[in-house]
Symmetry: C2
Subunit: 325 residues, 2 copies
């Protein structure tokens, strides 16, 4: 049934994308130390990770540079301070949100940048701008992917319309994104076969970005691998907004391509992730995220519950059920 | 592909078994307060759980009654102190380990007991004694299930031989047990179809007991449901040995039978499970369990790592990889 169904072999087209600084940055306002970033860069190279996402290219007119760490903006000089000319096999990525990125000026020409991949993130209702961003990035010489967010609350017809638009665009990779962590593997399988059907016809690839609200981020990711999805997002220790993401250590433990090496991931976690948690940075599965996931809601209420150090889960359940009406 | 593939309907044959006190008892030596046990009993009734496992019937000649809480032994009078005559829809279960249970004398006749279900746990090499225990319990009037443990390290031929023996026995339910938390959903699917094929021919049911070493306990359980497995073990907050089990709150969130009600699970967790963790009782996913799961090893080294409050994951990785040779 699965393309890699014996679980013993591997598919060379699979790519692993480390999104620790981007999705993880959402829980510490992108305030990573230079030592953290440099060590993560080295760990990714040694672990055989294919792409490393450094953060966002956020619009400085919309976001105050004094209120966030530098990786919300990913200035070219800040990236070069870490990677130099990046003469390695690890490719570099940043995310550009529709409506939050001054892409025409802030994304340089590929020849002036160490960035390889621009990841455009969009809601369904923003597709025309997303397409303009994709075309802009492609014209500048980049690889380009597109995340359509919050599809678990979208109608299938709208998703198909968006896929039609993307197929006519120069985008290289389209992402299935389980923004609310509400999907089960069986639903992931259905979406994967829809996305793969479109992508195969037009020579594009499909990716997955999962959230761990129901402890299914890793399970949904390996379900997708079996369904022909090639681009896999993961983060060290699952660090990411709310319940976090598919954990890099789980994913590299599963993938059988000999280029991947889990040991360097474990070593980085030893050195940095335990410390982050001790400093009070919070993410990962907990009941409040399960509840918003189950109800297919944005996790913002659960994140507020976490930030207020609340533990009264049953009161929170009453609140979110009431909100669901 | 799946029997409940639209995810919106439910299968009436599905049963939920709360194993919190039994598998969870392994991490606190079965020292639950009477208040905890009584509240758990009420929560299970209100949540619509089908069976509640109280603990083990351990041999008092092998295990010192002063070194464990009473639920390692599940004396009839201790159970009755909680449940009275148990005039409820919730059925009661205990586990009897091959080689660790004086079953002929310690398991009373069903007419003298509030217990409904005897769960026999066995390794493959102990099958003849397991069969004797099954026959003994059946003769006494109980429902009987059998867990064949550690099958992820067994040869398929041996598993089939054990299934042949069980099919000739009066056992009601045979369990797929992922003792080391090493299995992926795709492997679970293969095992489920093997077990279900045997069971259907002989009018028996199949169950699943999963461990969370790779954050797949819930994912493997719902994979199994889709493959025709009906008896589902879960524990509140996933409490159980090492990385713990499939979490009851995740499972009841997924199951669509209107008899189940997640709210009472959340309320119990509010009242008791957060406190248990604050008192220092430890379980749940962590890197050391991922490693033993990946290497298909017994988690005992990972449990020792936890108990020693070690955090040097990369050193532990070197240790278990060396051990794997």
């Amino acid at each position: 049934m699965k393309e890699i169904s014996n679980l013993l072999n591997y598919r060379k087209d699979v790519k692993v994308i480390d999104a620790t600084m981007r999705d993880g940055g959402l829980v510490n306002d992108f305030r990573f130390t230079d030592e953290f970033v440099h060590d993560l860069y080295l760990a990714n190279i040694r672990a055989g990770v294919d792409y490393m996402e450094f953060g966002y290219k956020a619009d400085k007119e919309l976001f105050d540079v004094n209120k966030f760490g530098k990786w919300k903006f990913c200035n070219e000089e800040d990236m070069r301070a870490i990677v130099g000319e990046n003469n390695t096999d690890l490719k570099l990525a940043i995310m550009a949100d529709v409506g939050r990125c001054n892409y025409k000026t802030d994304i340089l020409d590929r020849s002036e940048s160490v960035i390889d991949l621009i990841r455009v993130a969009t809601y369904l209702h923003q597709m025309p701008t997303a397409i303009d961003m994709i075309e802009d990035a492609k014209k500048k010489g980049y690889e380009v992917s597109c995340n359509i967010m919050a599809i678990s609350t979208a109608q299938e017809g709208d998703v198909k319309a968006a896929l039609d638009m993307l197929m006519q665009s120069p985008v290289d990779v389209i992402y299935i994104v389980d923004s609310f962590g509400s999907m089960y593997p069986e639903q992931m399988q259905r979406l994967a076969s829809l996305y793969v059907e479109y992508a195969e016809k037009f020579g594009k690839k499909v990716g997955i970005h999962a959230h761990n609200n129901q402890q299914l981020a890793f399970a949904n990711t390996i379900e997708a691998v079996g369904d022909g999805v090639d681009w896999l997002d993961a983060t060290y220790s699952g660090m990411g907004r709310g319940a976090g993401n598919c954990a890099m250590e789980l994913l590299l433990g599963f993938l059988k391509n000999p280029k991947y090496n889990i040991y360097h991931v474990i070593q980085f976690i030893d050195r940095h992730m335990t410390k982050l948690r001790e400093e009070g940075v919070q993410w990962g599965y907990d009941l409040q995220y399960l509840m918003t996931g189950l109800l297919n809601q944005h996790p913002r209420t659960a994140i507020a519950f976490t930030n207020e150090h609340r533990k009264d889960y049953s009161e929170f359940y009453r609140e979110v059920v009431a909100m669901d009406l």
